[in-house]
Symmetry: D2
Subunit: 331 residues, 4 copies
């Protein structure tokens, strides 16, 4: 399958990844992880929810934790530019026979809820309550000093389908992985905001949320947040890294929260907004080789957060990534 | 004068600050400064010009140094999204009675040249020759490891005029400084690419180019590049900083190149692309207070690069910034 | 005057700079500065005193702040290796007709108090109450994350006299500044612990305590502590730097506490303990040139903490260092 | 077995770990690894040897690579304070019936060669040819910017024996690991220079050289040197880390050179020179738990460099450390 051509005149204007909504079983434990360890700023909290933002964010939240009976992802949130874009989105999804509903979300402006072509729940808003940007409020900096949300990664049973769906919405492909010699990408990085990713699709049983990613400002903080994790009893929550990505190029560390939801902390990406920024291709064989860090454990590839009410489907063809387990067994 | 409303349907789509073109008297000396000290990547060079890019840039150049008899800025370059936008730009400027000319520029696609409302020379292109992005080619990293161009600052005799002109072009005001109690901004930060600045206007005899700014990735590198500067005989070229900005919030250091052109190295800005991102106001009195670094020397406020063939005009009203000279005299 | 030969068989074994004792007018203000800003660990406190240590120290204190009516330094403290060395010290000073007294000091073992040849008050102990070393207790890291005390600098009216006195005690000269072409050092760096300085003597009215220096672990923290200082209202307390030293080579920042006592934060020195480590000579003219940072203000050269009960004497010959005031005036 | 009491009046004065001498099969490959990747300074080289030092070292070498037919360690070098100490050492070893020989070593002063109680080859010198200290010669900084040698780790069949032997020589125990509830240390960290280690003994077939360790100045450089390693084709040489140590507390990364010799890069240790610095005890069970990094691979525990001409002996009792292989198998 060929790579679809970018759509420079999308039906409505999505500007960026906006927020993740997660269900957690114990808000106090989640607070210890996200606030006391990672360093998110608490915008609001009550007995049922915790609204968090990064220090460089002036929007009310980029991460919402809701008390729930099961660890689930509720949706991934995208920002549209204007109210007008929300109306255009409603019109677009209705026409595409994807039921789009106006929903009430605290601290957000008008919000449209829809499931994407493979069932992944999305919500769109154009405005959010404003909060002080604390990027130079150094007294409030803690842990990894998360700056802002950057992107989501989803496991999906049909990456090509998502690639086409999101390309239609105006997302541009920045990087992709394809089998050696093949044309069809099976791992795609898509963006709206002008850096490599707002949403990433990898093959796997899904749709499930693999991770939400937040940027951090200094190499030093990768070590500091891991050190603090170990001291706070979260050593086992450091799942993969620190290490260096191939696609996207950033330093990363993946952590699992107390419910098993995964977040990525990474330092910032390159800028990518020119019409002549062609998608970067990576061969599967190249990506499969170890970088200086050891490969990820099998669970990093297979485990992800189910979306509430969405039954994952298995992909037609299963991948066989190089896992840490295989790597050490091969020696 | 009130702040003009943003124009969300601009006449053509400018996406970002693209490149600066400077005239220098001795390319070898400039190369020592920009390549051996700062760490720019040489995309091309001949006896008359040096084309430089940052390690995170895949475009051919973001800084062009041309051999010239006098140290002058030739123009500031902006990227438009598409060829179509260039044609719309041509139409727009013609209609506005600002003569816009198609010019030939090596390694750039079709390029439109125009002087802005106050005479500052601009050029626009939509494409540029592509070069490898070296962001993870660590062997090529050197000096401050400049990532990419970020913005320009110009001194102009009439900031309000520029604010209105660039707002019409679709630039959004991200931050501004105004006299205490007054409405009219006299120092404005304008953006297209989704972080605080692509172009900044400060009051002064002009139009003159105050500086071009390039992002660097780690705090550590501010010290390393200054240390290297001192060892290489460029101690006096470190003009101001390292220090912390008020508006924009970044860490910075300003350096003067061998011809006196000024560049800023800074770490990255916050994201700023939502419709509800209101301009941040700073009072003159607040900005005038010293931060932890001492105030800038008088020359930082008054000296800037003249544009070739453009006679600077004095502003109607002169500012009286707190300079280092005043600060130490007041003690 | 020639440089005295090192004494490798000293009368008693001093191992390192141990602690500074300062009188402050308002312990709450001092606590805000030293604990909330700089990040010292509080080992003990009561209404009359605050005992502080760095995160890498397992001794009870390296900085003692006592409530007093005037900002004074009480003494500089040195560690001897053993109790036996304290007895030898007592014998040595008695013989040298420098009255040495056994004094009671909370949290310290047996302590000997003496004034040096020029009247600077010293105290020696061999043991101190032990406290947990918090170098990997990341939850307790804050501000500049001070690691440990490193050295003291004193202004004295007769540097040569101190050089001879401390050389007799076994201190080794690591670096020194001398007038171009002259033999006599007028600024000397002396060490016992195997890095360049435990005590430094500079010419000036004295003896007065110019500063106590504490090591910090990362470049990043120079910026963070300055940023935090500005946010906490301590911008004016950042007196000089961040910058790079000539002698000793370290990055530094000098801060003034609420009483005007000066501390230096710096990153670590090189190792210097071999018999063939010859003192490094610096010419006055070389040191007087600006490094990448601007020169220090005149007050950095002239102001220092008086020792309680010790009347400073003027040096016979006054220096004329390059100050920031002179530097900006010369432009 | 109890911990032996420190010997504060040693038979001769050893001051610090000085240098490692390694046999390598291909000096060009070793140069690529140690100079082009790690960043050592070349003090001298010829067709048979490469003499390297860190940027903060003014001694001629801290690492000597000699061309050899097999990858072997030749010896570990220690610095004595004076020539007199070398004579005392000769006397001491002769009396202990350990044959000590005066040997010629290029660029070193008088050098004494001896095998320790378990056969590990040591050499002692008091002086070495002097070279410029390049700690602020930023142009010469590259790779991990190694500062100086810090310590050696040896695998030995009888740790207690070495503990007693080196305690007699004046080494002090700074930290040790012992089985839960047991008194006898089986992993010991010994020091002379005033920080936690100059030489470390771990249980294993030996004596073999497990690694030589060199300090690096910034967290950032752990990532940079690993990134550079991957780009230069040395990804597989990154054996363990970056990670955080329990004993000693430092950040570390272990790399294998082209011959399989192991080096550790780590950031600096705490100061440890007071008489009341008691050895820190770690329980085996505690050290066996994973920190935030995953456990080391089995090869990190078992592989080490044989000393030329010294046949390793198996320890009486084998350890069973938690390896990465066991860790991933247990999940």
């Amino acid at each position: 399958m060929p790579i679809p051509k970018p759509n420079y005149t999308p039906p409505f204007n999505i500007t960026r990844a906006s927020h993740a909504v997660l269900h957690v079983k114990d808000l106090a434990k989640s607070r210890a992880f996200y606030v006391d360890l990672i360093g998110f700023i608490v915008s609001d909290e009550d007995t049922d929810a915790l609204y968090l933002r990064g220090v460089a964010e002036a929007c009310h939240h980029s991460l919402v934790l809701k008390r729930g009976s099961e660890p689930r992802a509720e949706c991934v949130g995208m920002r549209c530019f204007s109210e007008d874009d929300l109306d255009k989105a409603k019109f677009y999804f209705d026409k595409a026979q994807l039921p789009a509903l106006w929903v009430e979300r605290p601290h957000q402006g008008r919000t449209l809820r829809v499931n994407d072509a493979l069932g992944a729940p999305l919500e769109f808003c154009a405005t959010m309550e404003r909060k002080p940007r604390l990027v130079v409020s150094f007294k409030d900096h803690h842990g990894a000093v998360p700056q802002r949300i950057d992107h989501f990664q989803l496991l999906v049973p049909d990456v090509q389908h998502e690639l086409e769906f999101y390309t239609d919405l105006g997302f541009r492909l920045s990087e992709y992985i394809a089998a050696d010699g093949a044309d069809t990408p099976h791992f795609v990085f898509l963006q709206r905001k002008g850096n490599p990713h707002d949403i990433v699709f990898a093959p796997g049983a899904g749709p499930r949320l693999h991770h939400a990613a937040f940027s951090i400002p200094e190499s030093y903080l990768f070590f500091y947040v891991c050190d603090l994790a170990a001291q706070m009893g979260f050593a086992e929550n450091v799942e993969f890294g620190p290490g260096r990505h191939g696609p996207g190029h950033a330093l990363f560390v993946y952590m699992r929260d107390p419910d098993g939801h995964r977040i990525e902390l990474f330092n910032t990406h390159y800028q990518c907004m020119d019409i002549d920024d062609e998608p970067v291709r990576w061969d599967t064989s190249y990506v499969g080789k170890r970088n200086w860090q050891l490969p990820a454990r099998a669970m990093w590839f297979s485990e992800a957060s189910r979306f509430a009410g969405v039954e994952p489907r298995e992909p037609g063809k299963k991948g066989a990534p190089m896992t840490l387990e295989k790597y050490v067994a091969a020696e």
